[in-house]
């Protein structure tokens, strides 16, 4: 089917329209319909995952192209979409997480269900669109589209401090986006001036061919990188994340952690680095430093949290630091580790937010001190929680290990050796903060009488967790299923980026101080 990607992307939007015609009081019906819509979206996206061509081809597949907006002779943007090995698993992750999220809201969302579900579906379209867009302007539209539903999800269905969190989330992200918008338009005009046919619009493939001078690359890269850094989030622009996560409803946190944050890291892989490779090379030490600081800093702050949800939020800062380190290593191990870790973080941290949601629904508190000894009352919950904890810690045999290992191995080779040594201490700190939290919440004697009444997970809740558990072990024991389909595209990307960096270095070769950068040792 040639319109498969469009179908997947806009099916939730169509579903949203259907939802708008349903009566607003029929809570269960609204949820069921939303669940069915997201499930169908997942099912129609499945053929992508089983497409074996990704194993050999680095090309964009399922490409769709249509003229969209024409303004005079000079401005053209197209509806141009497609996926390769880099976006494939992110698209799959999105369609996979959505039904799980919807199922998790069964009892959690009671107020204005219709609005909530409609926004979820709108959000899904936004996220999928951003991952499949091959036109930079189209990407930007979807990127901004995601922002709005998330803002309302936090602002309306959030916790006590929701307005502050929603505004903070919005302002941080919007400030970054504006800089990116300016940079996008600048690149377009540069491209048209350089003689690229304006009919190709903001096509990313055409932009890749531009030879932007180094000083321009610096500014453009920084504009893109700043925008993405906020989304990742990288230290020190991460402070919106803990607030947004803590105040967001469970479903919002899950989507935020599992998918929205990946927009930032994906942005580096797809846009910031390949569009401006020379600048990216120049700033690699800076970003590697920020990544390593993020790993350690996120872990240290996570350790001291007294709110479980905030702890998981800060652990994201640490985990995404690993991803960034892998991406900036710019070799196959680092990059594929980074890509895999995006998926892993989506699964494990998504699961941890669901887990926090489960106990929050029961006890209406997230403070670690209010718990303790829960294993006794909720053995199934305890087992699942423990598996997810160790997946987050990166125990071999779970998904987290494979990603972290590849990232560290790649970064160690890439000239970021000392960064890697520091990053590896994150492995120790992860064990400290996760296990300490687990001990205080789950082990010991029950001290709070309210915890005596706790019920173990229901069938629905177990059903929410089982698919995630499957992937924890699948990726842990046989990651090749995923790696082999992303590697051709990644290899292609590395070749392209490294090629341009080499050329730039040759031009500057007379200055020996610059040439040093290429030497790994």
């Amino acid at each position: 089917m040639s319109n498969l990607l469009s179908l997947i992307t806009f099916f939730p939007l169509v579903g949203m329209v259907v939802l708008l015609f349903l009566p607003r009081e029929s809570d269960r019906l609204l949820k069921t319909v939303t669940l069915v819509i997201t499930l169908i979206t997942f099912l129609i996206s499945l053929p992508l995952a089983f497409d074996d061509a990704f194993r050999t081809s680095a090309e964009m597949r399922y490409v769709e192209f249509a003229q969209w907006i024409n303004i005079g002779e000079y401005f053209r943007m197209n509806y141009y979409v497609g996926i390769d090995g880099i976006s494939l698993w992110l698209v799959m992750l999105t369609t996979f997480i959505m039904p799980i999220t919807v199922l998790s809201t069964w009892h959690a969302v009671e107020k204005n269900t219709k609005g909530f579900m409609a926004l979820l579906l709108l959000l899904e379209t936004g996220m999928l669109g951003a991952f499949i867009a091959l036109d930079v302007f189209l990407f930007y539209i979807f990127w901004e589209l995601m922002l709005i539903p998330m803002y309302f999800l936090i602002g309306i269905w959030g916790g006590k401090n929701r307005i502050y969190a929603a505004v903070k989330f919005f302002i941080f992200t919007a400030v970054g986006s504006l800089l990116m918008l300016v940079a996008i338009i600048y690149v377009y005009y540069y491209a048209v001036k350089a003689g690229l046919p304006f009919q190709s619009g903001f096509s990313i493939a055409h932009f890749y061919q531009l030879d932007l001078p180094a000083h321009l690359q610096t500014w453009l890269f920084l504009a893109f990188a700043f925008s993405f850094a906020i989304k990742v989030p990288m230290f020190p622009v991460h402070t919106w994340l803990p607030d947004a996560h803590t105040e967001a409803p469970t479903a919002g946190s899950v989507i935020l952690a599992a998918i929205l944050l990946k927009m930032g890291t994906y942005g580096y892989v797809r846009f910031a680095i390949p569009l401006f490779p020379v600048a990216a090379m120049k700033f690699t030490p800076l970003f590697a430093t920020l990544a390593v600081i993020g790993i350690i800093y996120g872990a240290l702050v996570a350790m001291m949290q007294d709110d479980v949800k905030k702890l998981v939020a800060y652990s994201s800062v640490s985990h995404l630091g690993f991803v960034m380190l892998g991406v900036f290593a710019m070799n196959l191990q680092g990059l594929s580790g980074g890509m895999l870790q995006m998926i892993n973080h989506g699964i494990s941290t998504g699961a941890l937010f669901l887990i926090v949601g489960f106990i929050y629904e029961r006890r209406h508190t997230r403070l670690i001190a209010d718990f303790g000894g829960i294993s006794k009352k909720m053995p199934v919950f305890a087992t699942i929680f423990m598996i997810m904890t160790f997946s987050s810690v990166g125990l071999p045999g779970t998904n987290g290990f494979v990603g972290e290992f590849l990232i560290l191995l790649g970064a160690f080779e890439s000239g970021l050796r000392w960064y890697t040594v520091f990053a590896t201490t994150g492995v120790i700190l992860a064990a400290v903060y996760m296990l300490w939290m687990f001990q205080r919440v789950m082990m010991g004697k029950i001290t709070n009488p309210k915890n005596e009444e706790l019920q173990d997970l229901s069938g629905r809740e177990i059903a929410v967790m089982v698919p995630l558990l499957v992937f924890v072990f699948w990726i842990g024991f046989y990651p090749n299923t995923f790696l082999e389909k992303m590697n051709p595209s990644l290899e292609n990307l590395i070749q392209q980026v490294k090629g341009k960096q080499q050329v730039a270095l040759l031009v500057e070769a007379p200055t020996p101080s610059v040439a040093k950068i290429t030497v790994n040792e």
Partner: protein, 663 residues
């Protein structure tokens, strides 16, 4: 036979899954759960035996089996692969053999526990991980087992999770192991990239690394040889897993776990993983005399340090725990001076006698617990000050415990005698040996004999100090507990005969173990000229000396704790300062708390409340406030009153006119 290798870890994995998923709801019956758990390990033991004997009669000594690909990313190709060679074959026998016995024992020991199924699920999972560690044909599969045993150790130490101390101990064990794992990973990265980028050999397979290691001989990193850097990193991993200085403090705390766990994980198998790892990578270690010296010295210092703490502990399991740390130190001494065979030999004999000692202590604790419980007395069943004279009530436990004490003390012809003596001989006479290591080793041997017999006497001899209500309720344990004790005591007695040193080999049976392990170690020993040289006379006289040392240790213990029971009290009051330090384990835990735990917590709080809240959010909120202040001020200009606007207009015109005129 070699294609059946995968069955060895497979059985315990299946056992673990069955008991874990169905134990609580469907099987329920203790006997069935115990039988599944024990049977799974026993099946592995049978397969291991058959592999061992096939290998014994085979001329080709290295066999690999690849099950599937694990990760394949560019030059990095990792398989789920197994490796059977003499070294892993010996370890397989120890792990599955001792493992089966301890599983059997656990059926009796854990009887009536609420989490019986959970215990067997974890214990099987542990055996599975340990077998992965032993069998892995590459460093990453080994690492799966390496962290897997750490996980199971965490789960089993925290088995009584309602006790805070158990939770603390579990976490401490895992985190300290992680510190070691950090080293392991860095070592692995270094080897992989140096071999790959410099010599185009992309591999983490042990066999290939051993074959290609010679390429690394000229490579430098940080001003020293690559192999030195890498092996020091690996050794950091070993100190975590095998509880050596500075990462040993988790092991004594790990005694919070049920006693079979202490016997299996924290004495016989898991903690020896570091020694095994060095054996597996002996080619790399042999290339770096620096690392070898570090290994030997750390081992020696740990041995004597832990033995000193063992002097003053009253908890029977803690004595054994410090003894384990000390004995592991002996094994590292051996690896460090190039006595690889002796190290593995001591690993094996230690598995026998220390497992027997732990299980014996478990039998005593079990009996004490029931007696005290029966009499409703709140005394600590593990405190040796509440024991004494138990040999009358528990003859089998006493006999087996006694035999194992003789073995660990190094009395001739018991197993520990042969292995410990070979280590001391190598420390003295090896080309990589060091006299200081030998001296420390000899002194530690004396201390070992002393504290073990102190433990034996306080528990089984003298006057019974148990609460008088509970006194007569102490009974010998049931057969599931005593049978493993007897078997292990038998092994602890005769197990050393596989490694009779040449100097006293009167009947020319030969050193069977050395011969069997030769394919693994001989190559690197020859290449780097690692050998022990000295006359048979010297060897024999050193042997006599170490026997004397052992007897002296035992005699002092006998005198102090059997003949003059008033002496220890006098001694501690006279040297109360020293005793306080030793009793409190030299305050190492407290120092670590101040140095690492508290400072990390403070740093975390600073990052959070200092940087995140004050600096970053301060800037953001400050910007927000500034805008708001600015616009509040501007708001006054937008008052909506027409005469205000008119006034502004007039003022503006005046200013403009003024400027115009003044120009």
């Amino acid at each position: 036979m070699y294609d059946k290798l995968w069955l060895i870890p497979f059985f315990p994995l299946v056992g673990s899954i069955i008991n874990g998923l169905f134990g609580k709801r469907f099987i329920r019956n203790e006997a069935a759960i115990g039988a599944i758990g024990t049977g799974a390990v026993f099946l592995s033991f049978l397969v291991s035996c058959s592999c061992f004997f096939t290998l014994l009669g085979d001329t080709e000594k290295v066999h690999q089996q690849v099950i599937a690909s694990w990760m394949s990313v560019g030059q990095l190709q990792v398989d789920w692969g197994f490796l059977l060679d003499p070294l892993s074959a010996i370890m397989l026998l120890v792990v599955t053999g001792v493992g089966s016995l301890i599983h059997l024992y656990s059926i009796g020991y854990m009887h009536g526990e609420e989490g019986f199924y959970r215990f067997f699920c974890y214990l099987n999972l542990f055996i599975f991980s340990m077998l992965m560690l032993v069998l892995g044909n590459n460093a990453l599969v080994m690492f799966v087992g390496w962290e897997g045993v750490g996980l199971c150790s965490y789960l089993l130490i925290g088995y009584y999770f309602e006790k805070k101390s158990a939770g603390d101990a579990a976490k401490k064990a895992f985190v300290m192991n992680r510190v070691g794992d950090f080293g392991f990973l860095l070592g692995l990265f270094t080897i992989f990239w140096t071999l790959g980028s410099k010599h185009n050999v992309w591999t983490i397979n042990f066999v290939e690394i051993s074959e290609q290691a010679h390429l690394l001989s000229g490579d430098m990193l940080l001003g020293v040889g690559v192999t030195t850097v890498a092996t020091l990193c690996f050794f950091l991993g070993a100190t975590g897993k095998s509880a050596q200085l500075p990462l040993y403090t988790w092991l004594p705390d790990a005694m919070e776990g049920p006693t079979p766990v202490s016997a299996l994980i924290h004495a016989a198998t898991m903690v020896t993983a570091g020694v095994y790892m060095i054996g597996r990578m002996n080619v790399l270690f042999a290339m770096s005399p620096t690392t070898m010296a570090v290994v030997a010295l750390v081992g020696a210092v740990t041995a004597i340090f832990a033995a000193s703490i063992g002097f003053a502990q009253n908890d029977i399991k803690r004595v054994l725990a410090y003894s384990t740390v000390s004995q592991l130190g002996f094994m590292f001494m051996a690896m460090g001076v190039g006595a690889f065979t002796a190290g593995i030999f001591h690993l094996m004999t230690h598995a026998f006698f220390k497992a027997c000692l732990f299980l014996g202590s478990g039998s005593v604790i079990h009996a004490m617990h029931h007696a005290l419980h029966h009499a409703h007395v709140d005394d600590d069943p593990q405190d040796m000050r509440n024991m004494g004279g138990l040999r009358k009530f528990m003859p089998i436990t006493h006999a087996t415990f006694g035999l194992s004490c003789l073995a660990i003390a190094g009395i001739p012809f018991f197993s520990g005698f042969f292995s410990k003596d070979e280590i001391l001989w190598w420390a003295f006479a090896s080309t990589r040996g060091m006299k200081v290591v030998w001296v420390i080793g000899a002194i530690t041997a004396c201390m070992t004999a002393f504290y073990m017999f102190r433990c034996l006497y306080m528990t089984f001899y003298g006057e019974q100090r148990t609460h008088k209500k509970a006194k007569d309720h102490v009974h010998e344990s049931p057969w599931v507990i005593t049978v493993p004790l007897v078997v292990l005591a038998g092994l602890a007695t005769v197990g050393g005969l596989v490694g009779i040193p040449h100097a006293i080999d009167l009947f020319h049976v030969g050193n069977k173990l050395e011969h069997f392990l030769a394919p693994v170690f001989e190559h690197s020993q020859k290449l780097h000229e690692i050998e022990a040289h000295g006359s048979a006379a010297t060897e024999i006289s050193l042997m006599v000396l170490s026997v004397v040392i052992a007897v002296v240790g035992i005699s002092i213990a006998t005198w102090m704790y059997l003949k003059r029971p008033d002496l220890p009290g006098k001694f501690t009051s006279k040297f109360s300062g020293l005793h306080r330090w030793v009793y409190n384990k030299w305050f190492v835990d407290e120092a670590y708390d101040v140095l690492f735990v508290n400072s990390t917590k403070k740093l975390g709080t600073f990052c959070w409340k200092g940087f995140d809240v004050k600096v970053v959010d301060g800037i953001v909120n400050g910007t927000g406030k500034l805008v708001s202040v600015f616009s509040t001020a501007l708001r006054y200009t937008q008052s909506g009153l027409v005469h205000n606007y008119a006034l502004t207009m007039v003022l503006g015109m005046v200013v403009m006119v003024a400027i115009f005129i003044l120009q």
